[in-house]
């Protein structure tokens, strides 16, 4: 049992709690970038004010406390703790050991810097080693090719293709359901760490 290995820290980033006062400003900015919202999810894209974001944070924390099937983290750079994104495990069904995962890096300039990859590696370890889940699902719109590659590199496979489930910019796109089993993660976990030249 390696207690020294942090569940919440990687080289470049850490998983951290919400800081409602400071984060709301930044996240409100992200919601004014429709591309970010549409890459992330099927919901109607709409910009939010800092006050609306703060309210959303309150409801997230209430849900975490009451429903016990949601874990929500902010992603912050180290060591300056700058907010760059969020990562969450949700819709956890304890009796079957299943859950869903969603993450986003808000500002396009912060993508492809390794922040997402390291956050995902922490989130998967949290889901499989700490929550002891059996499997995870992630939803990816067909047009988000970067996200598809990102999840496939981490071992996820496409399990379901919901044909034409999205209607955006005048055409139909599939919605992909990707899955990763704990045993698959455990098998290729050590391999990935070697690739990155760490123990």
């Amino acid at each position: 049992m390696d207690l020294k290995r942090s569940l919440f820290e990687e080289e470049l980033i850490c998983l951290a709690p919400i800081d409602p006062e400071r984060d709301a400003e930044i996240e409100a900015k992200w919601t004014h970038d429709a591309e970010y919202l549409r890459l992330l999810k099927a919901d109607i894209a709409r910009p939010l004010s800092p006050a609306q974001v703060k309210k959303a944070y309150e409801s997230i924390e209430k849900k975490v406390e009451e429903d016990k099937n949601l874990f929500y983290f902010t992603i912050r750079t180290r060591p300056d703790e700058r907010l760059v994104g969020f990562a969450k495990l949700y819709a956890i069904t304890w009796s079957h050991g299943t859950g869903m995962l969603q993450m986003g890096i808000g500002d396009a300039q912060d993508r492809k810097q390794g922040y997402g990859r390291q956050a995902l590696s922490l989130l998967l370890r949290y889901a499989f080693d700490e929550l002891n889940l059996y499997r995870l699902t992630a939803l990816v719109p067909e047009y988000n090719r970067d996200a598809l590659r990102f999840f496939e590199k981490a071992g996820f496979v496409i399990e379901v293709r919901r044909r034409q489930a999205l209607n955006r910019d005048g055409r139909r796109w599939d919605l992909l359901h990707l899955g990763l089993l704990q045993e698959e993660w455990a098998q290729n976990g050590s391999l990935k760490i070697d690739e990155q030249g760490r123990q």
């Binding site: 009796s95 379901v160 293709r161 034409q164 209607n167």
Partner: protein, 191 residues
């Protein structure tokens, strides 16, 4: 435009009745564990009729517009045999999930569910103007899978090992039907 009664089939009709009628039926259905294990991944819970009624009333008060809920009654004998619901509707994409269950086991395998689903799809495509409808079904529920295929759903994939029952992992099968597929195969089309 020929006006049809969307809620009426040849074997069943879709109805919405008062919460106590619904609660009474549900309180019996919950006690059939075979039904519940075919219907839901949640462990079955035996709620009282009173609790069910309160909950139905609360749902009605909150009346989410992304949810459509109806019960299924037979035309012959006017028996209350099941329910039907649309949920998680994405109006911007014209996509929704459908759920159906026949709590009265003696009506299984006789075409009642298939017809109720056909009514649901007609409502989905002709009134709600959805582009597609999705459902999830357990891999051990072959009767349901055949019924869904019969009305035009096709398998779109499997969530591997999504639930654990009797010591074994089972897949959740997702099925979908597109508006154009339903149009080509619409059982209600005249001529």
């Amino acid at each position: 435009m020929a006006i049809t009664n969307l809620f009426l089939g040849t074997k069943v009709r879709l109805v919405v009745e008062d919460p106590q009628v619904e609660a009474k039926a549900w309180s019996q259905w919950l006690r059939n564990s075979e039904y519940m294990l075919l219907l839901d991944t949640d462990p079955p819970v035996l709620w009282s009729e009173k609790t069910l009624k309160d909950r139905i009333e609360k749902d009605l008060e909150e009346s989410h517009e992304d949810v459509f809920y109806a019960m299924i009654r037979t035309l012959e004998e006017d028996r209350y045999i099941g329910f039907l619901a649309f949920f998680e509707t994405f109006w911007n994409h014209g996509d929704a999930w459908v759920a159906i269950g026949l709590g009265e086991a003696e009506f299984w395998g006789k075409g009642y569910g298939s017809e109720a689903m056909q009514l649901a799809l007609r409502y989905a495509f002709n009134e709600l103007n959805f582009h597609r409808v999705t459902l999830g079904v357990f891999e051990y529920n072959q009767r349901a899978i055949r019924s869904y295929q019969k009305v035009g759903f096709v398998e779109e994939g499997r969530i591997r090992g999504e639930f654990l029952r009797q010591g074994k992992r089972w897949d959740m099968i997702f099925m979908g039907i597109l508006r154009e597929e339903w149009n080509n195969n619409n059982p209600f089309q005249p001529g």
